[in-house]
Amino acid sequence: MPDPMKIRATLVGDSTEVKVLMSHEMESGQRKDAQGQPIPAWFIQVVTVTWNDKTVLSAQWGTAVSKNPFLSFKFKGGAKGDRIMVTWTDSRGDTRTDVASVA
């Protein structure tokens, strides 16, 4: 199973700032291994963030995103204790979901 994400969600004025650190190889498919064989691409394709079951961010990612990606964004609204759920799905079909509450 993939490693957990680190999620921080903090209230800033009237909006919520969400910061997510994901653990993923994000292999671009452009690299070769020691034997000269191409390393197959393997990366996060879809990222979804919901706030109390309402989708606040939905993204399609590609190979240009770094290894162990860091995502930071803000949305209007939010209150202390609200549930923030982050889900990613990668090109192998692996998926990981983690939950945090707004602080």
Binding site: D3, K6, K19, L21, S23, E25, K67, N68, F70, S72
Partner: protein, 268 residues
């Protein structure tokens, strides 16, 4: 006539920038680190390490929570800032990795080879448990003052050995640690090298390891730093938990006394 202005302006710019190049480059690197610190992937290793610390593992199915890192069984907070230290039960000065291996063998029932396997991680297929545990334990000393003791004769002995090794010139390049790290203002390419013989230099260096190396996509420990310095010096491979590795760690850690520990950090 406008065409003449371009080269003149460029020339002035070049003069100014060459004078400032060194300072501005290190400033820029510092800025780069500050921006990345917020999303430091080292936290992923800390999380995994915290989990490994609590998990019941090994043939005996016990957690590491009974492991004494010097402040009592299971006490992690502030432990890293006082390591390496003398442990009466092992009758030896140990750094964190050595102590972790010791606990994994004595308490969890691993063999020494199993405990030491994969000390430095390499991608997803070869994750290092030792690096993750080190990241976790070190993170619990963030903000704690470095306080490495030399009260026990063996601690003093390790420090003296570390000091001697630091200045010991050897290998194909006739290098010592001191060749690069014994003077202020030295650098490799654009990386400034800390003078580890001074408190200031040792503090800056020691308190920022372990660190996530962006160029490697891996978290690296201070032992890895020593290991790689040995490689760069064309020295024989540095053996983990050897007296040499512990003594050199002791030398730099002790020189860093008084500074506030601030790792896992992030480095280029």
């Amino acid at each position: 006539m406008n065409t003449w202005r371009g080269p003149a302006a460029l020339f002035t710019l070049a003069l100014a920038s060459s004078a400032l190049a060194q300072d501005t480059t290190s400033d820029e690197i510092a800025k780069y680190r500050a921006v990345l610190q917020e999303g430091n992937p080292a936290e992923l290793w800390e999380l995994r390490g915290a989990d490994l610390w609590q998990q019941k593992r090994g043939p005996r199915q016990v957690s590491l929570q009974g492991c004494d890192l010097g402040l009592g069984a299971g006490v992690v907070k502030g432990a890293y800032a006082q390591l390496p230290r003398y442990f009466p039960d092992a009758d030896r000065v140990q750094d964190l990795e050595t102590r972790l291996v010791w606990c994994m063998v004595r308490q969890q029932g691993y063999t020494e080879a199993e405990a030491k396997r994969n000390p430095f991680g390499d991608g997803n297929e070869h994750k290092s448990d030792l690096e993750a545990l080190t990241a976790y334990v070190a993170s619990e000393s963030r903000g704690v003052k470095m306080d490495v003791s030399l009260r026990h004769p063996k601690e003093l002995e390790a420090y003296r050995l570390g000091e001697a090794l630091f200045f010991f010139r050897a290998g194909t390049h006739d290098f010592a640690c001191a060749t690069c790290h014994g003077e202020d203002g030295k650098r490799i390419r654009l990386q400034e090298l800390p003078n580890l013989t001074t408190a200031n230099g040792a503090q800056k260096a020691y308190t920022t390891w372990p660190a996530y190396r962006v160029s490697q996509g891996e978290l690296r420990t201070f032992e890895w730093r020593l290991y790689d310095c040995f490689r760069q010096q064309r020295f024989p491979e540095l053996v983990l938990d050897s007296d040499v590795a512990i003594a050199l760690t002791m030398y730099v850690a002790r020189n860093a006394n008084g500074a506030s520990f601030d790792a896992p950090a992030i480095k280029r």
